[in-house]
Amino acid sequence: MTTEMVRLIEPVIPALRRYARALMKDRAAADDLVQDCLERAIGHWHQRHAEGDIRAWIFAILHNLAMTRLRRAAARPRPVPIEDAQEGDLARPATQEDRLRYRDALAALAQLPHEQRAVLLLVGVEDLSYAQTAKVLGIPIGTVMSRLSRARERLSKAMSEVPRPESAHPHLRRVK
């Protein structure tokens, strides 16, 4: 039983960390969240549906914990904005150019409301199906689709409004 649990949950942990990091932004808070999530998964293992979808089940635990924390944090000043995140905290892409684009994408992502961000990440990054995403978020598939639509529209708009790296970070261009 225990070994089965470890066998099923362990492969999902890196993806859980990724989702948590994209929501929480800083590494320590994200890993803390994943740890809480795993504790809960271990403690409630017998409550999952035996034939059910482990990935959706455990992402739902993580998501609910994250939303609780984000709502609590919303009452306080904003956490470290992504721009100030330490080097390597979010990504280590290949080139300077790429890194700036990625940073823009993450910054645009950070501007989205939590629930739109969640849909975008679960569908677009974690490769959950629309049905799995609906299960994780506890909403109908139709709502998943409309949130996804709004999220993509908004992210796209934010991205197109971001000045190109050439003009925004001339000093970084020179480094190259």
Partner: protein
């Protein structure tokens, strides 16, 4: 053939690769005919790719120690406590004290037979809760026997033996720690080929070791209780007393030999 109109959902399905080949084909044709929509869909796809690339390195990172699942499971089983030698010493002390007068043991003050009757009631109550449970009758299964022994022994403050009833046709399924009015008890469960289940409950019990094995029956659950070396045991099930009695004797014999 008339085609269903292309919807906004189809466009996202296209971006996420969630469409069946036929629909995908139709959306492709539509996008070729509508460059403005095609540009929007292409941007969605590019941004999706960018987010994936930006977040991809996170899954490659080595997992921090605090997210080691096997270790977390282990820590829950054995919460941080005194070192093993100290636990062993404490268990030894308990045994000595128990032998010297049993003043630390629960169930103290009750007459021997009364203690065994209380134990029998607790065993029957545990049986009623856990034996009918299809999905999760036990918390730790037979294959993790060592963990189960470690856990129950720790909670009971003394080594607990698991009798083997396979010769009588009852396979050991596993067990758990359960609550009784007299503190934690170890529950072990067995079943036979017909799916009939037995439960053995063990917990500290100060009782006259010479007290005879005590039968009890309650709500269709039969059982036999005895005590040995400071622990009380009760074997219960829906089987007839004639079936249970020899099994209880066998369990008592094995436990006594291992003690």
């Amino acid at each position: 053939m008339t085609m269903r109109p292309i919807t906004e959902d189809d466009l996202h399905g296209y971006v996420d690769g969630a469409l069946d080949p036929e629909r995908r084909e139709q959306v492709s044709a539509y996008l070729e005919a509508h460059p403005d929509v095609a540009a929007r869909v292409a941007a969605y796809g590019a941004e999706r790719g960018m987010l994936r690339a930006a977040l991809a390195p996170i899954v490659e990172e080595p997992l921090p120690a605090e997210l080691d699942l096997a270790r977390m499971v282990e820590a829950r089983r054995r919460p941080p406590g005194p070192p093993r030698w100290a636990m062993a010493a404490a268990a030894l002390l308990l045994v000595c004290v128990g032998g010297a007068g049993g003043w630390l043991l629960r169930g103290m003050g009750s007459a021997p037979a009364e203690g065994l009757q209380a134990l029998g009631r607790e065993a029957a109550a545990s049986y009623a809760v856990f034996a009918p449970d299809k999905g999760r009758p036990v918390e730790i299964r037979a294959e993790d026997r060592a963990q189960l022994v470690a856990w129950t022994s720790r909670r009971l403050g003394r080594p607990v033996a698991i009798p083997d009833l396979a010769d009588a046709g009852y396979r050991f399924m596993g067990g758990r720690v359960v609550a009784t009015e007299h503190g934690p008890a170890a529950l072990f469960m067995y079943d036979d080929d017909a799916g009939s289940r037995l439960v053995m409950l063990a917990r500290p019990l100060a009782s006259d070791p010479k007290a005879p094995m005590t039968p009890h029956a309650r709500d269709g659950v039969n059982g036999f209780s005895w005590s040995d070396n400071g622990l009380g045991y009760s074997l219960v099930g829906q089987a007839a007393p004639e079936t249970l009695h020899p099994l209880a004797h066998e369990a008592r014999r094995q436990i006594h030999r291992q003690a």
